[in-house]
Symmetry: C2
Subunit: 433 residues, 2 copies
């Protein structure tokens, strides 16, 4: 009996994980590859950064999520290159041969080549970003407590968030609430007048994907939370303690978060195809890579019809590719992808969110309630839902953030990991599938 | 009006925190100093290492714990030295003057000068230890999945825990359960016969502080969980992938945890006093430092009557010092410390614990139920209790560990933290109290 064809999926984000699960009953074997051993519920990463949720509440082990699925296995590895002629992905743990390949490698922070930004600002894309930012925010408050110079304290307690998209807006709201509702009580001597959260947006309104009335509602809500919202403001460079703007003025801020740029993951360069907008790999309406009918690209990594880099796009594309692969294996044509817009939403903090679903537009409490329900339903497992709900309820009722501890951890394999034998074995991973 | 005298407490562990809280109504100001911004519920650290609990469930922000207490403030700093003539502690953030000083600096892992142990084994005393060990255990399983050599796999999946005290016993039981009840389901191809948890104890029984019948019960319970318990076995050195024993034989193991030695914190050396057993600072029956009536030492850092390094000792001593300080400030004699033994307990995993309370000795399910109740009541805040209970219930009912994700994080202040002004200010911390 011939072995079933092997579908290699690179990336266990919303696209890759959805695809792997959708292939549970297809006549294929599935290998999911990711550099991390977890799937990240990234829309709530800003809550890790603001001491509301712990990493395990938004990150679920990939193996747990595919546990029931007999035809699926997982390889924790970093994919370095693609070998199309040999049909192999080249990872830091060896080569893996594919029959079908799906790149679901997502996106990364884009600093647009600005070295000062890259070096001196915090990103908010990966789990360690969220933890590092949390440590940083708490550390600035601890240090400011014993700082005698008012000017130095003001700089320490100033946080500049660059980028008025959903990540920037949600982070700014949550950070302002952390300061005004929680840290103000932790630090009795704190003069909140010395703290400042500034949200810097280059365009003329926040959240340009939403209707202007909702952008307005979000800006009003942030300003009520004492966020300094600056529209039409572009950043030139980040210096220690200072953000230099393009108009020549500057903002004093010790902590700068950059949420104003994303680009598709760098692995796209290895396809050899000329990349499109945001470094995305252009794909046809079937999501296949041109000239490689056995290779698909989905989610943020894929460039198709200027679709936004949003989770629903990745998940719908994953569902399409699951059925396309099933058809391909059966000798049929893969079919074309159609995107259905499910709407967009964002939260600005306690009791305040915005949601836009077709012609329905909600803001304030109704928008927040909608956001809450949708996000709670989508946190991946029941336990995570229960813990997330408990933390949110705790915060809501007691104006408290449960997780405000600073902790760092070494990555795995800190010392000698006897890498020689591991590499030797990983070089033949295909055969052990 | 003269300022109230300042009590400086170094260490926010069980001793230091209890003392600070007990001084809430005393006519003193209190400054609690710790290198971390959290109080750690260390008895559950092994559950962080075995993917049962998240850091925030056993670590609570110090500021939150002293929030209601008007006379108490917190300084996050590392104490480097003591200046008795100037009555100052010297920290990495400047000097702090005291009127009364209490050293509650606890203990650290003791490698007895064995460099190979220090370099190649994991400790389990601090929160980052627990996270690093969790990352390591999960990483070994991920790597072994794609390792072709049986021998290499066996070494990767062998864990040696050195030290048969409560930490070693609890960790061995929890790790065996993680492997046999959880990871075995995550890794479908896993041959559990290739995994091994070895508990190495130099003495002739586990848990020497307990009655021999309870030591026996613990060893039986561990062996039922397939832990290889080796008594009367001393470790000579740790090589990569190998533990060399004093009898000349060796154990293959890729991950070694050292729980067989503790010593009082190094700050004791700065007292200038000749240190006692375990590097403890000898104190008189009042817990005062000889020749320094305004200086107290409590908990693991203090040497008095060969009392064990246990949390109840630290907490009872804290209560004594709270009343001693109140008396001293009022011009009275400090009184002498009396220890009341509240009993000891340990858990060996699901449904299996041991407890010894005076003449009452419990093991098996009753011992476990007792352990459960006492630990749940003592986790510091209500929210932590609720989350811990949820995680424990989840694990108990579904044989699942919620937290098995590998994540690392940078410490706070990763890049330039504008240290010049911070140091300048920290140099004058006393005046801002």
């Amino acid at each position: 009996m011939a072995e079933l064809p092997l579908v290699v999926i690179v990336g266990a984000g919303f696209g890759g994980l959805t695809l792997a699960r959708r292939l549970a009953k297809a006549p294929v074997r599935v290998l999911l590859i990711d550099r991390n051993n977890y799937h990240l519920f990234s829309p709530l990463l800003y809550q890790v950064a603001t001491a509301m949720l712990d990493p395990a509440e938004i990150a679920q082990p990939v193996r747990k999520l595919i546990r029931g699925q007999r035809n699926c296995d997982f390889l924790q590895a970093e994919v370095r290159d693609l070998d199309f002629s040999g049909r192999q992905v080249i990872t830091d743990r060896g080569r893996v041969r594919w029959d079908y390949l799906v790149l679901a490698t997502g996106s990364a922070t884009n600093y647009f080549g600005n070295a000062s930004l890259k070096e001196r600002s915090y990103g908010l894309k990966q789990l360690p970003d969220g933890l590092s930012l949390r440590n940083r925010v708490l550390d600035r408050f601890e240090r400011s407590r014993w700082e005698e110079s008012v000017e130095a304290r003001r700089t320490m307690l100033s946080f500049a968030i660059i980028g008025g998209g959903p990540t920037g807006v949600e982070l700014a709201g949550a950070l302002a609430e952390l300061i005004h509702l929680v840290l103000r009580k932790d630090f009795r001597g704190l003069d909140v007048g010395e703290t400042r959260v500034t949200l810097v947006e280059g365009g003329d309104r926040l959240l340009p994907a939403f209707h202007p009335s909702l952008s307005e509602a979000a800006a009003r809500s942030l300003r009520r939370k004492r966020v300094d919202v600056r529209l039409g403001t572009l950043v030139e460079e980040v210096h220690p303690g200072e953000v230099v703007l393009q108009d020549g003025t500057s903002l004093a801020a010790d902590t700068v978060v950059w949420t104003a740029g994303v680009r598709a993951s760098e692995l796209g360069e290895r396809t050899g195809v000329e990349l499109g907008r945001h470094g995305q790999v252009p794909v046809g309406p079937t999501l296949q890579l041109e000239g490689h009918p056995n290779v698909f690209v989905i989610g943020d990594a894929a460039g198709l019809d200027d679709l936004p880099m949003l989770i629903p796009v990745a998940m719908q594309q994953a569902k399409h590719v699951a059925s396309a692969l099933t058809r391909l294996v059966a000798g049929a044509a893969p079919g074309t992808f159609q995107f259905r817009d499910p709407g967009i939403m964002a939260t600005v903090g306690r009791n305040s969110g915005i949601a836009q679903l077709g012609r329905i537009r909600l803001h304030g409490f109704p928008g927040w309630a909608m956001w809450l329900g949708v996000h709670l339903m989508n946190v991946v497992t029941f336990r995570a839902r229960a813990v997330v709900l408990l933390n949110w309820a705790w915060d809501y009722l007691f104006y408290d953030r449960p997780i405000r501890i600073m902790v760092s951890a070494a990555p795995a394999a800190p010392e000698g990991d006897h890498g020689a034998s591991a590499a030797r074995a990983a070089g033949t991973t295909t055969s052990s599938m």
